[in-house]
């Protein structure tokens, strides 16, 4: 088991390293930073001074090694926009992002999985129709529009919650609600489909034939077998949460990493963009690693292969 986790961890590290290299090379070849930052009318002397200052006069491999060395020490340079340390921007915004996305994810699971199970057991009931309708709508409404609708209802019309900002816990309610509902829709649809497929298996029919009570069939036989596809799906959803933070945080002016990333992209703040892409990659890699380790715990077959 330790060897299994170790080999997965080594691969995760390789992915991270190659992403860092790829982003670095693309950024260096996309244009001369000296020209980009100083403008086209800068004197050659000023450009040369800028290059020496930021170490841009060295060869690309050398620059990459220096970048890596600094990055390991937590030094990602300074934001071009306001001169703040990129590391500070990131460490300040990550907790904000985690607050919203982790609580939204947990609420989405708590809402979505029971709804999906009930919909699968009672097909064509009111709950089943509701689950399917919400899921279809969830695929068609852009998340930022859901956020705007919530703002309209709760901030403009009822005036019970603040529309945007990130200073108090009350500001977190609407972004969490938007995010949670949106994801609960796809979780419930997937849970329903998976459970229906499991319930059609012969071993379920056999269990029914044995006279095992329905509740025990669901809990002891159907759910454990639906767990693996569900975990896969939750992993995919967890990574897609990262893409979602970008939209949700911008709509509600929640100063997490997603909104900061959008700001940096809009302003061409490449030091911030570069560091944040690495942060996003770390998240994706960690989520995938967790999912693979969870597989091994959930499925005795995978465990015994190692």
């Amino acid at each position: 088991m330790t060897g299994f986790i170790l080999s997965k961890a080594v691969r995760a590290f390789a992915v991270l390293f190659s992403t860092a290299l790829f982003v670095f090379v693309v950024l260096r070849f996309s244009g001369d930073p000296a020209e980009r930052m100083l403008g086209e009318f800068a004197t050659p002397e000023a450009q040369a001074a800028f290059r020496t200052l930021w170490g841009l006069d060295k060869s690309i491999p050398e620059q990459f090694l220096i970048y890596l060395q600094h990055a390991i020490q937590g030094d990602f340079g300074k934001s071009f926009a306001d001169g703040r340390d990129v590391f500070d921007i990131i460490t300040q915004s990550i907790p904000k992002t985690l607050t919203v996305s982790v609580s939204a994810f947990i609420i989405a699971i708590l809402l979505g999985i029971p709804a999906g199970i009930v919909a699968a057991i009672r097909r064509d009931s009111a709950i089943d129709r509701l689950v399917m309708a919400t899921a279809v709508l969830g695929h068609s409404i852009p998340m930022f529009l859901v956020g705007l609708i919530f703002i309209f209802i709760f901030a403009v019309w009822l005036r019970v919650l603040p529309s945007s900002g990130s200073s108090t816990w009350r500001h977190a309610i609407l972004p969490i609600a938007t995010f949670a509902l949106y994801n609960a829709a796809s979780i419930s649809r997937f849970a329903r489909a998976t459970l229906i497929e499991v319930l059609e298996q012969p071993y379920i029919a056999a269990a029914r034939g044995d006279g095992i009570p329905p509740s025990e069939i669901i809990l002891r036989h159907a759910l454990p077998n639906a767990a693996i596809p569900l975990v896969t799906m939750l992993g995919i959803l967890a990574t897609s949460l990262l893409g979602g933070t970008v939209l949700v945080e911008t709509v509600f002016a929640w100063t997490g990493i997603g909104a900061q990333f959008v700001r940096a992209v809009g302003q061409g703040d490449l030091n911030v963009v570069q560091a944040m892409i690495l942060v996003f990659t770390v998240f994706v890699v960690m989520i995938n690693l967790t999912v693979e380790i969870l597989y091994a715990f959930l499925n005795p077959k995978i465990r015994s292969q190692q």
Binding site: P142, L145, V156, F280
Partner: protein
């Protein structure tokens, strides 16, 4: 007795099938047709130039002024004309982007299935990598590095989701290669390229078309998301996402600036994905 007389022959069934469509699906198809006509003829249908400003008639609500049917925005521009132009841009971007990803993805899927070995590993490896990172992040990174331009933006929409076609086409071609007809064509000496294009492609087109209808709403949503964030379609061009983004600043005093483009967007994506789901259920069990 009834059931017997009601079972027509196969040719009759396809002829009358349009009358047997569920009402919901007919509504979806009607909306898509309307929106397509709008997209093609936007310039002729629009009562005003969509960029024409009229500071004196700002924030007119829908149905208030007789010449501005859907009202005006914060610069006094006619909302209906803006909506028409925006729908056109959004659909064009999604159509071109969707077509590019369908062609690129399908071709790579064919290559993957034909050569196998390291080509297969490489293509499927890239597909896995792209599938695991949220495309929103990739797109924002690319737009940050290269700056936003209409061409780059459409190309970006073209690489979004190509891997779905690649995975699907690869699987279908591997299946078709094992089928009798491809084997027979190969034995009589038909060249590989011809087998793929003339024999296999028409046979596997169904699932690929279904995939297109399922992907289309996602591209529309991605486009409007990026435009909403201010890095997609840029003024003076206009798209549905950009209209909503403009409208958010005046949300509290002019709800229609967000509601109307939002409604068009949702109705369009909803119609296409319902139609896609319906086609998938009817035509193809492999995608379920």
């Amino acid at each position: 007795m009834m059931a017997q007389s009601a079972s027509p022959t196969r040719s009759k069934r396809s002829f009358t099938s349009i009358f047997r469509l569920p009402v919901g699906i007919l509504l979806c198809a009607t909306w898509i047709a309307v929106i397509l006509i709008v997209a093609i003829f936007a310039h002729w249908l629009a009562p005003f130039d969509y960029t024409q400003q009229a500071p004196l008639t700002r924030f007119a609500p829908p149905l208030k002024l007789s010449n501005h049917l859907l009202g005006t925005d914060f610069l006094g521009r006619d909302l209906l004309s803006n909506l028409l132009a925006a729908t056109q841009t959004t659909l064009m971007v999604a159509l071109i982007g969707g077509t590019i990803s369908a062609i690129v993805g399908t071709s790579l899927g064919f290559l993957s299935a034909h050569f196998g070995g390291w080509v297969d590993n490489l293509v499927m490896g890239i597909a896995d990598a792209m599938a695991s990172v949220p495309f929103m992040i990739i797109a924002l990174g690319v737009l940050a590095v290269f700056g936003s331009s209409p061409l780059l933006f459409v190309l970006l929409m073209g690489v979004f989701n190509w891997w779905r076609y690649a995975r699907l086409a690869r699987g279908l071609v591997l299946g078709a290669n094992a089928d009798g007809y491809a084997e027979a064509a190969r034995i009589v000496g038909v060249p590989s390229l011809r087998i793929y294009l003339r024999h296999i492609l028409p046979n596997i087109a169904g699932p690929l078309v279904v995939q297109f209808t399922l992907n289309f709403p996602e591209i529309v949503l991605m486009e409007s998301g990026l435009s909403f964030l201010g890095v997609g379609i840029k003024p003076p061009a206009i798209s549905l996402g950009l209209m909503i983004s403009y409208g958010t600043s005046y949300f509290a005093i002019a709800w229609w600036l967000v509601a109307l483009p939002g409604l068009v967007l949702v109705l369009t994506t909803l119609s296409i994905s319902l139609l896609g789901d319906y086609l998938r259920d009817r035509l193809d069990a492999r995608l379920r």
